[in-house]
């Protein structure tokens, strides 16, 4: 048995024969030719053929509903129209070179330009040009590329796969994918994720002589076993069957309501980091977004992002996920996330320092840029705005005042805005203990359990020495969660959980029992969590001994919303 290590892109197990995918290597004629007109004609015919192929791939992917992949081929067809590229190739031909030679030189130069760029996105475009070069050469050499994959189901091993190669693969014959090269940004990786094939990249050492050998791709352990022993075969076959059963079960949960056996429903939302996560939200059937970390707009640029830049990003997410509620957390940067343009002082104790809403309230102009962008984006979907790191009621009031100021400015400028919900993170013990007062200011609470645990227990989760003292289910934290939910409900403020505890299956029943309205988790955790929720039966608690245990307080009926002292929110939308 041989074991080869790689980097896991998609989890899972594939069992079967290996097929080494080897595209043809062409021997290009370096001699000069005399019939230049004929070569130009061959070149133009090849361009037309490859362009038609790319357009056909575009149509195919669009029909299959893969918009992202379709866009790749649309861009390819456009690149083939590029005048500079065509002119440079034709110049080689006019010097007497063959069409094949011209394609190699011209396309390589274009690929080289992209390869030398700083930005990862543009760097990766060199692969597109190489893909087109290979397709051009296939046409010019009249090669038949149909059978590279073989005719049996197999684990495909390749140097790397270009998008047009990947999309031409017969998916029914593909058990898994292993490439020697590739990056997690490559098209192969993106496609593998969307198709959910068990996939390894950068499996540098796997050799071509594995072709035809029996193997198990164990992406969980980021390796492939070639000619594995019986013990491994038995173990991993069982694991694969388990995976398949679990996956089938999860797929059945799509479109199902997140409701307990006794009819209590809870909203399952996703935590996301930017527009790139829209697809994951949709694929995993999240009912909304409970935490959109707006940090990416600050961390991804060298200068402070403008209002328009922020607006574009927020609008994209709101539009892409409408009519779902999308809760965007305002800037949560601090001294531990260093951003040069913010010019923050170095702090001894950044977790307790100048961060999040504290920066925003002291730097009003900076804060207003984000709030104006958010309000403008609210015209394109259903927006919730959430303020982080709150400890006092006056902070919430000040945030709302500034928000109202922005709203009035935008109104005067004639900008469209939609209705919004306003909420705060409950992630400090101070906020949890003052939840009754804070609830009177907002529409919702979201419990940030990671920080709440860190601040309640005075434990830095990153510190390895503290592992023994750390307890993610510490009773103090659980009690703060329960009391926050109860306090929220006393004031008709709905309460969600967006920290890691939200996805903890051992706590789902408790959270539901305590009355949580929403759980926001990683997109991948949505369906498993829905499965948990649907297995919970709260009726057993209702029929238990009526003696009011300390653990079972009766929730007070929520007061009607109208009784809440209406400050900003009432004025804003009346």
């Amino acid at each position: 048995m041989q074991t080869f290590k790689g980097i896991k892109i998609v989890n899972g197990i594939a069992i079967g024969k290996i097929k080494v995918y080897k595209p043809a290597v062409y021997e290009i004629n370096e001699d000069l030719v005399s019939d230049i007109a004929a070569e130009v004609q061959r070149y133009e015919a090849a361009i037309a053929k490859v362009q038609a192929d790319q357009n056909a791939l575009y149509e195919k992917e669009m029909k299959a509903g893969h918009k992202d992949t379709a866009g790749i081929f649309e861009a390819h067809a456009m690149m083939l129209d590029d005048e500079d590229l065509n002119d440079s190739c034709k110049e080689f031909i006019s010097e007497g070179h063959t069409a094949e030679y011209a394609v190699r030189e011209g396309f390589e130069a274009a690929a080289e330009m992209f390869r030398n760029m700083d930005d990862e996105y543009f760097k990766a475009r060199s692969a597109d040009v190489i893909d087109l070069k290979n397709s051009m050469l296939d046409v010019l050499f009249g090669a038949d590329t149909a059978n590279l994959q073989g005719t049996e189901p197999a684990i495909l091993v390749a140097e790397d796969l270009a998008p047009s190669e990947t999309v031409k693969l017969d998916k029914s014959l593909l058990l898994g994918l292993v490439t020697r090269m590739g990056s997690s940004n490559s098209h192969t990786a993106i496609l593998a994720r969307s198709m959910n094939w068990p996939t390894l990249i950068q499996c540098h050492d796997i050799t071509d002589d594995c072709d035809g050998k029996f193997a198990i791709l164990d992406a969980y352990n980021a390796c492939i076993y070639v000619e594995p022993d019986q013990y491994l075969i038995d173990e991993l076959t069982a694991k694969q069957a388990e995976d398949k059963a679990r996956e089938a079960k999860l797929q059945l949960l799509k479109g199902q309501p997140s409701v307990t056996k006794d009819g209590r429903s809870v909203r399952l939302y996703a935590n996301i980091g930017g527009p790139k996560d829209i697809q994951a939200v949709l694929d995993n059937d999240a009912e909304g977004v409970g935490l959109f970390r707006s940090e990416f707009v600050y961390l991804n640029s060298k200068e402070e992002p403008t209002e328009d830049e922020q607006f574009a990003a927020y609008k994209k997410v709101l539009e892409g996920l409408a009519p779902r509620l999308v809760i965007i957390r305002t800037c949560d940067i601090g001294a531990d996330k260093t951003i040069d343009y913010m010019k923050l002082d170095k702090e001894e104790n950044p977790a307790l320092g100048f961060r999040a809403v504290r920066i925003c309230l002291n730097r009003r102009d900076f804060f207003k840029k984000q709030l104006r962008a958010l309000l403008r984006a609210s015209a394109f979907g259903k927006l919730g705005i959430m303020f982080p790191m709150i400890i006092s009621r006056w902070e919430v009031q000040e945030c709302k005042e500034i928000l109202e100021e922005c709203r009035n400015e935008l109104k005067a400028e004639g900008k469209a805005m939609g209705e919004i919900e306003i909420g705060i993170m409950i992630e400090t013990p101070a906020a949890a203990l003052c939840a009754d007062e804070l609830a009177q200011e907002v529409d919702f609470f979201s419990l940030g359990t990671n920080d709440l645990t860190q601040y309640t227990c005075a434990i830095d989760r990153q510190s390895a020495n503290l592992e023994r003292f750390s307890d993610t289910h510490h009773p103090a934290v659980l009690r703060l969660i329960r009391e926050t939910i109860e306090a929220g409900h006393r004031h008709n403020t709905w309460v969600g959980i967006c920290g890691e505890l939200g996805a903890d299956p051992t706590l789902t029943e408790d959270f539901l029992k305590w009355g949580v309205d929403e759980l926001s988790v990683n997109p991948k955790s949505i369906l498993p969590l829905r499965g948990n929720v649907r297995n919970v039966d709260l009726s057993k608690f209702k029929t238990e001994s009526p003696a009011p245990k300390a653990e079972e307080p009766k929730p007070e009926p929520a007061k009607p919303k109208a009784e809440k002292p209406k400050g900003f929110f009432g004025r804003l939308f009346s």
């Binding site: 866009g71 790749i72 649309e74 861009a75 067809a77 456009m78 690149m79 129209d81 590029d82 005048e83 500079d84 590229l85 274009a110 330009m113 992209f114 760029m117 700083d118 930005d119 996105y121 543009f122 475009r125 597109d128 930017g274 527009p275 991804n300 640029s301 060298k302 200068e303 992002p305 403008t306 328009d308 830049e309 607006f311 574009a312 990003a313």
Partner: protein
């Protein structure tokens, strides 16, 4: 000659597919449109060169248009930039 400036708001910058659409738009006019960022420049009809400028979010580009239909071309490109980048 017409000229306008634009700050890119798209998170990925001037990337492949919308850049291709930009080229198509520019080809509808007789005028020559040129994108300028710092010392780099590219014609709006040249996809690869345009992408090769590596224009990213937050970059300010100057677009110069010269030709018989420069008014209409400038208006169309400005609209296109606002909608796509």
């Amino acid at each position: 000659m017409k000229e306008f400036k634009y700050v890119i708001t798209d998170p990925v910058g001037i990337h492949a597919r919308p850049a291709g659409l930009l080229v198509k738009e520019a080809k509808n006019f007789k005028s020559t449109a040129t994108f300028i960022k710092g010392e780099k420049s590219a014609k709006a009809t040249s996809l690869m060169k345009l992408m090769g400028m590596g224009i990213k979010q937050g970059d300010e580009v100057t677009i110069q248009i010269e030709g018989e239909d420069e008014e209409a071309c400038a208006a169309a490109l400005e609209k296109f930039m606002k909608e796509n980048f």
